[in-house]
């Protein structure tokens, strides 16, 4: 009797993934058509098809300007944004599971502060080609922060507490606080550069290139595969270390691998687009209402929803609002109230 139920639930996950893939595709298409110059859906599809197949005749009759707008300006930005949204959402799922806390997010362990600190240094030293060096410094900052947090959580002799959720959260908060002070100091000394720093910290997808797209997609692909591979183990880990261990999970190994995976996803996101809050916290939270807490469903659906939502937000700031506002500000303005509502509803329900 229960066998068909399990089969149905698998099928249901499949159809959810399919549904949200279509939604994402639709949003990409709509977003690509919107902007200062309106471009029809069929024109976009034909341009992309001709680029992929290398058959120029497919795009006959479409102006070269349109081709450049779609291929060189809009699509890189759109795809980078979607990839970052997906990365942040998957990262959020992983952190919430590892830290046994549905309210954790990719930045709980100070990864964002580390990235911001790295970026500030790069900007302050005005390292010439900022396109390369700022993201690179941000990424390095994020990775170093993670390493230090893990080092702090390995509390020496008492092996039982190492990498436990409480130790990790505490270490993350401490390191984050130190780095924030460091960032404030750098801003203080930055003089005219301070505007650049602040603007970078608030996040933006303006002038993203295909290089950003490919890089983020590579990380997202690797992170997604790892997350799915350990998804069932993460289910058990999210119920507590002792239970997970007694049910046959190598808790410390799984925690460490997923911690690194989640942090790399957060690090690449921050270095590509600055600090974008609420996606990693809110998306897994909302998706859990639909799929339940099983990470095997939560990871893929969250990735698609995260990509869709962030892309919507970016399209709003790029094509709907009269002036572009930083995407990090927009997600917080939209995400904050939604979160309050979910939080309140979850408590009274």
């Amino acid at each position: 009797m229960s066998l068909p139920v399990a089969a149905i639930s698998r099928k249901r996950t499949g159809s959810l993934v399919l549904l949200f893939s279509f939604v994402l595709f639709g949003i990409i298409l709509v977003s690509a058509s919107m902007g200062y110059v309106k471009i029809g859906f069929s024109d976009i599809l034909r341009i992309v098809a001709s680029e992929i197949s290398g058959n120029a005749t497919l795009a006959n009759g479409i102006s070269e300007t349109f081709r450049v707008i779609v291929m060189e300006v809009r699509l890189p930005r759109i795809l980078a944004c979607a990839a970052v949204g997906g990365s942040l959402a998957v990262s959020g799922v992983l952190f919430q599971g590892i830290l046994l806390n549905p309210l954790a997010d990719p930045y709980t362990l100070g990864v964002s502060a580390g990235a911001a600190f790295g970026a500030c240094i790069a900007i302050l030293l005005s390292l010439g080609a900022a396109i390369v060096s700022v993201p690179l410094f941000a990424f390095a900052g994020a990775c170093l922060t993670l390493l230090f947090v893990i080092y702090l959580s390995y509390t020496g002799k008492n092996s039982s507490a190492s990498l436990s959720s409480n130790t990790l959260i505490l270490s993350g908060i401490i390191v984050g606080a130190i780095l924030s002070a460091g960032i404030s100091f750098l801003k203080y000394t930055a003089d005219e550069q301070v505007a650049v720093i602040i603007f970078w910290l608030m996040g933006s997808f303006a002038s993203k290139t295909w290089f950003d797209v490919v890089l983020t997609l590579l990380f997202l692909g690797g992170g997604f595969v790892t997350a799915m591979f350990f998804a069932r183990d993460l289910n058990l880990v999210s119920l507590g270390e002792r239970s997970a261990t007694s049910l046959g999970v190598d808790t410390r190994k799984v925690t460490l691998i997923l911690l690194v995976t989640g942090s790399l996803l957060a690090a690449i996101s921050v270095s590509v687009s600055g600090i974008i809050g609420f996606v990693g916290l809110l998306v897994p939270h909302m998706v859990r209402f639909v799929t339940g807490p099983d990470n095997r469903k939560l990871v893929p659906v969250s990735m698609l929803v995260g990509a869709s939502l962030l892309l919507c937000a970016d399209t709003i700031t790029r094509a709907v609002l009269p002036h572009e506002i930083p995407i990090g500000v927009l997600t917080a303005i939209i995400g904050g109230p939604i979160f309050c509502w979910i939080f309140k509803k979850g408590h009274t329900a």
Binding site: S2, L3, A6, A7, R10, L100, N101, P102, K157, N158, S159, S160, F229, R232, N235, L236, S238, L239, G240, E241, R242, S243, T245, S246, L247, G248, V249, D250, R288, G292, P293, D294
Partner: protein, 269 residues
């Protein structure tokens, strides 16, 4: 020492930082028995279970599980042999009861495979047995403490292990559920030759239900054996610093302990 199919700990010591919690303990558990571990708070009972299940590694000495060193046995292998019902029932994620019980089959289900018929049958029969079938589709976060405890207990039964460790598994349950779960445990011991090692606070329940009592104090085994032999007023006084009267009770058919009212004032920590 120790037969081939036994679980034994040999000269095991463990300390948190500088505080010695388990001090040169040697114990041998034989199949088909119900062992109860008793002792004051902080005497190392839970740590002992953690060492037995391989969650903590002893600083010295070793644990032998059915002729193999536990430290050299893989996690999944251990999980097929030893199940633990731990004290912590704080579950933050809204898994359904059925999903939680199915997690007990984790060591048997290969990665990426759905549960097979045997897994599903096992889950259904255990839920039936433990009386949680009627809320199988409810979220575990919405259950009461006692109900949650029963789900975690059911999950451990689903692991289908020959060793079942209980860490105060009955602490949040009313007497009717306690007795019904103890009945299930007793039945498993009789029919499947399982072994149960349980940490108890209720000395009388332990005495009535178990084959052997193990009294622990300051990380050492104070005395161990059949209740008739080791459960004495002197032992209780030695372990808990309280005056008590121990006598055989016809109705329970075991030794029981009674505490006088005036003893409350004589408590000296």
């Amino acid at each position: 020492m120790g037969g081939i199919m036994n679980l034994s700990i040999q000269n095991v010591s463990f300390s948190y930082d500088d505080e010695k919690v388990i001090d040169h303990v040697t114990l041998d558990f034989q199949k088909g028995n119900f062992y109860s571990i008793l002792g004051p708070n902080g005497c190392g009972k839970t740590t002992l279970l953690d060492i037995l299940v391989g969650h903590l590694n002893p600083n010295s000495g070793q644990v032998i599980l059915e002729d193999k060193n536990l430290a050299l046995t893989g996690r999944k292998e251990i999980a097929k042999k030893i199940a633990l019902v731990s004290q912590n029932y704080n579950i933050n994620f809204p898994f359904t009861v059925k999903e939680v019980v199915m997690m007990g089959r984790h060591p048997y289900i290969p990665r990426f495979s759905p549960p097979c018929k045997k897994d599903i049958d096992c889950v259904n029969s255990v839920m039936e047995k433990t009386g949680i079938t009627r809320f199988r589709n409810k979220k575990i976060t919405e259950l009461s403490g006692g109900e949650r405890q029963r789900c975690v207990f059911a999950r451990a039964l689903c692991q289908d292990t020959s060793w079942l460790l209980l860490d105060e598994a009955f602490s949040n349950m009313d007497i009717s559920h306690t007795l019904s779960l103890l009945g299930i445990v007793k039945n498993e011991i009789k029919e499947k030759r399982r072994t149960v090692i349980s940490v108890f606070h209720d000395i009388n329940l332990a005495s009535a239900w178990s084959d052997r009592l193990i009294f622990i104090k300051n990380g050492r085994v104070e005395v161990a054996g059949k209740a008739d032999d080791v459960m004495t007023e002197k032992t209780i006084k030695n372990l808990f610093q309280v005056q008590a009267k121990v006598e055989y009770n016809e109705y329970v058919q075991a030794k029981q302990v009674y505490f006088g009212v005036e003893m409350r004032s004589s408590f000296k920590p």
